[in-house]
Symmetry: C2
DNA sequence: CTTGACTCTATAGTAGACTACAGGGTTATA
DNA sequence: TATAACCCTGTAGTCTACTATAGAGTCAAG
């Protein structure tokens, strides 16, 4: 089975019908063939492409970056350098986010450790610290 | 100077006028006194409270959690345990997010390393991996 | 007293990634 | 052929934490 309606593609790809249409609208999926009735018809390529999108999302890429990656992937003329550059930008962003979260984690951990969790909130080191 | 208009509070707290009104609307700030004209008048307590909110935000708490913390802090009857519990929930969430980001970072790092960044995108290990 | 800066309320818009209608037409199955 | 299940477009709503705008009233300085 290599031609699917949107519902069938949704079923095999585990991406909802609405999301598939949304991806098309956002330029992540090309406009598919249509029946005379207007129904979209998807070839296997679209399944591959939805897999690409899913994996890129698992790496934390946003839809805009994914669209850029797909555009590069679609054109064999394009430079590997551009792909790598997008990845490295994203890597740097991930690292920044991790660092920020680690700072929060550290600070919160210290704070939570100071609180025995018993009694009234009156002398709560957490609250006191937030009130500085 | 212990009574401020909203603009003055905004200036000293570094929180915008709109955000202050928004916080009030969201229940993070109590309704302040008003002049007969309707203008809001803020005592020093509000500056402290905005500081609390800012520091809690620096720890990554969402406004809903901050509101809960403030509600607990406002009532000396409330339990320290409740405060600690909110913090530990948030800590767990931070750790989960860090773990997720670390997985992404690891995977993306490996991928980016495999790409020399030269030539056409035709045999790009990154694209190939996303296309699996 | 005028003028410009400030404040008021209520509503709408922003970003990102969807999700959910409403009001149609189409297709597959009994 | 009836009808349920599907598909179409376009628009609106969701979440979070604001930010912006409109239209009107108020305050302080000159």
């Amino acid at each position: 089975m290599s031609e699917r309606t949107i519902g069938q593609l949704a079923a095999v790809s585990n991406v909802s019908v609405e999301t598939i249409r949304y991806y098309e609208h956002q330029g992540l999926l090309p406009a598919p063939k249509r029946r005379r009735s207007g129904y979209r018809i998807y070839s296997d390529d679209f399944l591959t492409r939805l897999g690409f999108i899913r994996r890129a999302k698992e790496l934390g890429f946003g839809l805009k970056e994914i669209r850029d990656l797909l555009t590069l992937a679609d054109d064999p003329q394009s430079d590997k350098k551009a792909v790598k550059s997008i990845c490295e930008h994203h890597l740097a962003e991930l690292e920044q986010r991790i660092e920020d979260l680690n700072h929060m984690r550290q600070a919160l951990f210290k704070l939570a450790k100071q609180c025995d969790g018993r009694g009234s909130v009156r002398y709560c080191p957490i609250i006191e610290s937030l009130n500085r």
